[in-house]
Amino acid sequence: MDANNGQEAEAVLRLTGITKRFGPLVANDAISLSLKRGEVVALLGENGAGKTTLMNILFGHYTADEGDIEVFGKTLPPGDPHAALAAGIGMVHQHFTLADQMTVLENIVLGTQPLWSFNLGKGAAREKIRRLAADYGLEVDPDRMITELSVGERQRVEILKALYREARILILDEPTAVLTPMETEALFATLAKLVAAGLSVIFISHKLGEVQSVSDRVVVLRGGKLAGERKTADATRRELAELMVGGQLPVNEIGPSSPRECLFELKGISTRSLGGAALRQVSMQLRGGEITGLAGISGNGQAALAALISGTLEPVEGEIIVHGEKVERWSPGAALERGLGRIPEDRHATGMIGDMSVAENVISEAYRSSRFSRFGFLDWKAAATFANDIIKAYDVKCPSPDARVRLLSGGNMQKLILGRALDGDPDIILASQPTRGLDVGAVAYVHARLIEARDRGAAVLLISEDLDEIQTLSDRILVIHRGQLSRPSLRGELSVMELGELMAGHGHDEGASHAA
């Protein structure tokens, strides 16, 4: 809170009755919100609660159907990012808005001078950036290309962009989603300095822990409506969670594991790159009755590992051993034959075919089996029965097996994939980012099914960028960094910070990495 200003509580921003509809969906329903000078307000809510929409309206990316925005006592014209910038609002988007093959400096000065001028004023700009960086702990070299920067550094550039324009109100959309625990700490330190300098911050998040440590006040959105507002100091974690979910937070019990024999093993596997890092000399064992969690910052080889295990990427060297037997040719077909259940990372791109029906999608891995064919022709009746079974057993909300998959929500789509992957009780399960973008209820559901599979003796590999998820579910944790694995640690053995260190590449052995 700010004391050097006469009045203690001067509102710098006031949203009144903001409503926004996308077709039949009401993304924001009469939301009002105010922000004071030197205050951090957390905007808490699940995916799809309307947080990002609200902030996009504030910033002028969307135009509200109803409602007013007042900044420093003046009404903000709707749908005009330029006006929002001029009024002193700076926004750090979840997906960075940086031009990659340009320098930090060019990205920052873009749009800050009149377009028609013969001078970029690089000298003065560099000076100002250096000063801001030093003042707020945002060190980054102004002359480096964005492509050369880490994710954390890119976020600093985004914050610098706002500060360079003298923003007084800073909006951060899920800023910690892509950061390591250390980078998150640094971000919070920066925020504290900004608030001390009199800026106001809106911090969008769905992580309760963060919200509690960083904010003065919490505004909770649920289903596009304002669900409640609390002083952070007065609110319990449980209370906030219930406001966010609109009821009891589902809790999964996970018992002690009873590890069995190794069902799937990689020995000295190297691959080519698949966008991110390539795997280098990776060895790992997946045991029955255990969930093995793979933590790591995105782009460190998770994609290559997932593709390798599902059979879509061939190893350059190394062995794959399934059920104690060395496999000569590993392919998607071989993976299915040997009982591998796959939950792919991107359900829209590789998990499901949006324009095909639910029935077509659920048999897409098994349409050749005798179960779904009669005299060599597809047996649509059997397919529909199977689809109905999954719909019932996994509580998928969908009108019929003939519905287009595109029309389902993310959570329902994921349940379908889960049903398809877990059909026939596979004993090896690959789950890549199985809960990304799902709401709390769906997350709990997916977790419960994975625990169930583990308890019946399956070997589960959970690849996730969400450390909370990894720590909650995994009996054994591996950390991947630049295509190499750390030594495995058991549940509870390492703290978040220690895992963060491993994710940042500290403590990885050079050369071969082993996991047993």
Binding site: P81, L98, N107, V109, Q113
Partner: protein, 314 residues
């Protein structure tokens, strides 16, 4: 064999190379500006035809040569505006629209030519730009006579490259153009209109393409023929890739290609019909493909090239 090498050391060869390069330089810079802003402009071939005609026709009707250049540029800018309007706010396929612009611009030009000049059998002539020796610079040994004893339009081509490079890397508007081709949301987030920057860039680029066309009718030759652009627009598109979307490298590419072209004409004369002349005609194109394979494989292209940007609604 010696004869073949001697060609490379004659001043007339290099003078011809620079002359052949000039329209390519304009066209390549034009395409480069469009693509740097994220818009592929396949209308280039037709826009060059249109510029070649309108520039020439202005002079034929009694206009000043520079007025002709200006008219050509405006013609190009208008087709650029059309291409920009269809591809930027409407977000139509840049390939399809571009090919449409090429067909429209060239056919419209031939049609207009026939309507305006129905009775001519041999193409009417104008008094074109004359070579102008730049004082002092043209006295530099070797370089002087080749680079600085050209027509004023060639000097304008040199200047264009320098100007494009300067604007791109030294001015706010250049930063905006490059950013809009890399990540339009970066530009939007900084309060600049993506649509305005892209359409502006396509118009300026198309104007340059049209001047490249006009070079042929007003400087290299003195009349307008059908088919006279003859694929130069398509070559410019390859040259942009060859130059990795950088003005300086693209300039080198244009001169290299032109040198190949000038060389093959002279080689044809030496070999005197032993080798079919088509082989020589083919040479610059084959070499440009080879050069593309070697040079352009690792080029970093503008990230938002050919991706329309739709603001707001989801």
């Amino acid at each position: 064999m010696n004869e073949a090498l001697e060609i490379l050391f004659t001043a007339s060869f290099w003078v011809a190379a620079i002359r052949i390069a000039s329209p390519l330089i304009f066209a390549t810079m034009g395409e480069l500006i469009c693509e740097r802003a994220g818009v592929l402009n396949l209308g280039i071939e037709g826009i060059m035809v249109a510029g070649a005609f309108t520039g020439w026709f202005t002079v034929y009707m009694g206009g000043d040569l520079w007025t002709g250049v200006l008219v050509a540029a405006l013609t190009g800018a208008m087709f650029g505006l059309l291409h920009g309007f269809l591809t930027v706010p409407l977000g139509l396929s840049q390939h399809v629209t571009g090919i449409g612009i090429t067909l429209l611009a060239s056919s419209l030009t031939y049609f207009t030519y026939r309507i305006l000049l129905p009775e001519v059998s041999s193409p009417p002539k104008i008094e074109p730009f004359q070579p102008f020796a730049v004082p002092v610079l043209s006295d530099i040994p070797v370089l002087g006579p080749t680079l600085f004893n050209q027509t004023p339009l060639t000097y304008l081509a040199y200047f264009t490259v320098a100007a494009v490079a300067f604007v791109f890397y030294r001015t706010p508007v250049g930063v905006a153009v490059r950013a809009v081709g890399e990540n339009p949301s970066a530009v939007e987030a900084q309060g600049i209109s993506v649509t305005a920057v892209r359409i502006g860039a396509v118009m300026v680029g198309s104007a340059l393409m049209a001047i490249g066309g006009a070079f042929l009718t007003m400087s290299a030759f003195n009349s307008f023929f059908f088919e006279m652009i003859n694929g130069r627009g398509w070559i410019a598109i390859a040259l942009v890739v060859f130059g990795s979307w950088r003005p300086g490298k693209a300039l080198i590419g244009a001169i290299l290609f032109a040198a190949f072209d000038a060389y093959q004409v002279r080689l044809q004369q030496i070999t005197g019909g032993v080798i079919p002349y088509q082989i020589f005609l083919m040479m610059p194109f084959v070499l440009s493909i080879v050069a593309l394979v070697v040079v352009a494989r690792r080029a970093t292209y503008p990230k938002a090239l050919m991706i329309p940007y739709q603001k707001g609604e989801r």
